[in-house]
Amino acid sequence: MNESQIMDKLEGIFRDVFDKPDLKLTKETTPGQIDEWDSLNTINLTVAIEDEFQIKVAVSEQKELKSVQSIVELIKRKIG
């Protein structure tokens, strides 16, 4: 899976989790740009990402899911 495919899937997840059907996601998107990107929604994001990409985020890696950039890197690393 290449990066743009990953970004497409991530965008779908972000749109659902934040209920913003028009949301445009880039690697530069940060929690500051999405109002509701707080710790509670981070869990929903994590669970959705795990289910979508069939990966498991280790207990020590949860803190990496705090920007789109780091999420993409984590996914790339996990799916190899």
């Binding site: 997840i13 659902d16 869990i43 959705a48 289910d51």
Partner: protein, 599 residues
């Protein structure tokens, strides 16, 4: 079967969709038209994080027409807020308190070096700690309590001994759960949310996800939350009478394998001779158990009537024709037959579950009756029981004697209906019923039934107020209230306790706060016998005026003008309802003509 987004909330749940789209789901559910919403205040006292449990619970409640307002305790503060009180919680006045505790909240497990006596003491101390919470909530808040029992431990340093040795955690939890169960049997308005069952059903290995515990303090995995929240929602639906009451079944390939019209009764698949036959018999057994606790079984089949009936005479048919509250077999479209079933049984469509192996029939019925639950049965008979059981349509919160008689009541009612059709004059029909009523003030013996009836009656119900069993027993004992119940019997049988009045006394005035009647006995003039009795008891208490209130809902249109029929005069009316008044003179004329009244 529903094709909207919220179909992911139907059993079997689409967990991913629910978790990922919860915001859109909430929006859609709130936008649903023609919902007969009730609002309930629910306080969640958590022993671990509860945010997601609350969000998903909200979805399932909205689906049942219950609009929740939530209060969440501070993180892990279930004990402190209940026992030492919280002004915020007190001010919130919850209808329901849900205590989400799990085995991480057990304060002291036994240790392997401890004596049996010490372990026993620990058990008592743990149970007492929870009893302290429950007693305090009961006294300070008077809310209904929903309490989790405990899931078994995922890991067992003691191995199999963990279950059998007194010092094992599994052993300890099993005993705690037993004590919780016992408390629930001894206390009204206290219900166990059985997470011991849920976690076993889901699989303990999947039930918890320690990553979410260490990172976010969730005591169960996100994927298990829909199952948990759904289960809580079913208890709440049960408490407020929003559960299903009747099931309408197809015959061919639903109650037995094969097509009776083609195969004949001797060749349909039922019983131990074939694997499928065994599965159909098992399904019938499950239905029979539902029936025995009060769920009404009805049949809607495309068949020749006589042929269809023959199926029940098969030696391996667990269900007998007499078990059915109503039976329709003909070649008309199913929605029109279902309509006549709904009318005959005299419950709303939202009380029905429609079960059919044929997806075309299901779709047809669902389109015609959006309020009927139509489970999307799989093709394999083996899954039928799980589809119904997992959806928890009929969740009973307790079993009162009346439930066990329900099928009989309905059958007797149908006999009366038939009889009615040969009597042209309704008065003659009423006289011929030889009705006898027992009318009197509430008695402790009837508190349970009165509570049950109060919380599920929608049509003949002037105010649709719901009360807990504590409130009902208060009305029955406090002199500020004047209460009446009525039982009605006729030559076809006993209908049981079917009507309830609660009035509050204010000097020489009596306000009718609650008056409802079971749909079983509507149009039998029982209300006239009751108003006579109400006037009599009022006179004995020095009351001069009886005030009636009508608060309209989507379902109680039938009583909008009832007070007028009963001789009341209209005082005022508006959007919020109407107020009526009856001045009791010395020469009140009795209105009851058809019912012999005694106590």
């Amino acid at each position: 079967m529903n094709t909207d987004v919220s179909s992911c909330l139907n059993y079997p749940f689409d967990v991913r969709q629910i978790l990922q789209k919860k915001k859109a789901l909430k929006r859609d559910l709130l936008a649903k038209k023609n919902q007969n919403w009730i609002e309930k205040k629910i306080a969640i006292l958590g022993g671990s994080t509860t945010a997601e449990i609350k969000d998903i619970l909200e979805l399932f409640l909205l689906k049942d027409g219950i609009r929740p307002i939530f209060y969440e305790s501070g993180y892990g503060k279930y004990y402190e807020e209940a026992v030492f009180g919280s002004q915020e919680l007190q001010a919130f006045k919850p209808d329901i308190v849900y205590i989400h505790t799990t085995n991480v909240n057990i304060s002291s497990f036994p240790e392997i070096f401890e004596s049996v006596e010490l372990v026993q003491k620990k058990l008592v101390a743990e149970v007492d700690r929870y009893k302290q919470i429950w007693t305090k909530i009961e006294n300070d808040l008077g809310s209904v309590i929903i309490q989790n029992n405990f899931e078994l431990p995922r890991n067992r340093p003691l191995g199999n001994l963990d279950a059998s040795d007194e010092r094992g955690k599994t052993n300890f939890i099993t005993k705690l759960n037993f004590h919780f169960a016992q408390y629930s049997q001894e206390h009204k308005s206290f219900y166990i949310n059985d997470i011991n069952y849920l976690s076993a059903f889901f699989g303990l290995e999947k039930w918890s996800d320690k990553r979410y515990w260490y990172n976010y303090k969730y005591a169960l995995s996100y994927h298990a939350i829909p199952l948990l929240s759904h289960n809580i929602s079913r208890l709440i639906a049960g408490i407020y009478g929003r559960t299903k009451k009747a099931i309408t079944l197809d015959l061919d390939n639903t109650l037995w394998g094969g097509v009776i019209g083609d195969d004949g009764v001797e060749r349909i698949k039922l019983g131990k001779d074939t694997p499928e036959g065994e599965a159909f018999t098992e399904f019938q057994k499950y239905l029979k158990e539902l029936r025995s606790r009060g769920v009404l079984l009805t049949v809607c089949s495309k068949n020749d009537e006589e042929k269809a009936k023959e199926g029940f005479s098969h030696p391996d048919s667990v269900l007998k024709f007499e078990d059915l509250a109503y039976f329709v077999a003909n070649w008309k479209p199913k929605p029109s037959n279902l309509e006549s079933i709904i009318r005959k049984i005299n419950l709303g469509p939202d009380a029905f579950v429609f079960v059919d192996d044929n997806p075309v029939e299901r779709a047809h019925v669902q389109v015609s009756f959006p309020q009927v639950e139509v489970p999307n049965m799989s093709e394999d008979i083996v899954d039928f029981i799980d589809h119904i059981d997992g959806a928890k349509y009929f969740e009973p919160i307790d079993i009162v004697a009346d439930d066990l008689q329900r099928n009989r009541y309905y059958k007797e009612n149908l006999a009366r209906e038939e009889f009615k059709s040969i009597h042209l004059n309704y008065d003659d029909f009423l006289s011929s019923l030889e009705m006898k009523a027992e009318i009197g003030a509430f008695k402790p013996l009837y508190f349970d039934r009165i509570t049950q009836l109060t919380n599920k009656t929608n049509q003949f119900n002037f105010t649709t107020k719901r009360y807990t069993s504590e409130q009902i027993s208060l009305f029955g004992t406090d002199k500020k209230y004047l209460t009446l119940y009525a039982r009605l019997e006729d030559k076809y049988g006993d209908n049981g306790l079917v009507s309830v009045i609660v009035g509050s006394v204010e000097g020489t005035r009596l306000n009718i706060d609650l008056w409802l009647m079971s749909c079983r006995v509507i149009n039998r003039t029982l209300e006239f016998a009751m108003i006579d009795e109400l006037v009599k008891s009022s006179q004995e208490r020095g009351i001069e005026t009886i005030i009636g209130h009508y608060i309209p809902t989507k379902r109680n249109q039938m009583v909008a003008e009832k007070f007028r029929e009963l001789g009341f005069g209209l005082v005022s009316s508006g959007d919020q309802g109407s107020v009526w008044e009856l001045t009791i003179g010395k020469h009140y004329l009795k209105q009851n003509r058809f019912i012999k009244v005694g106590e």
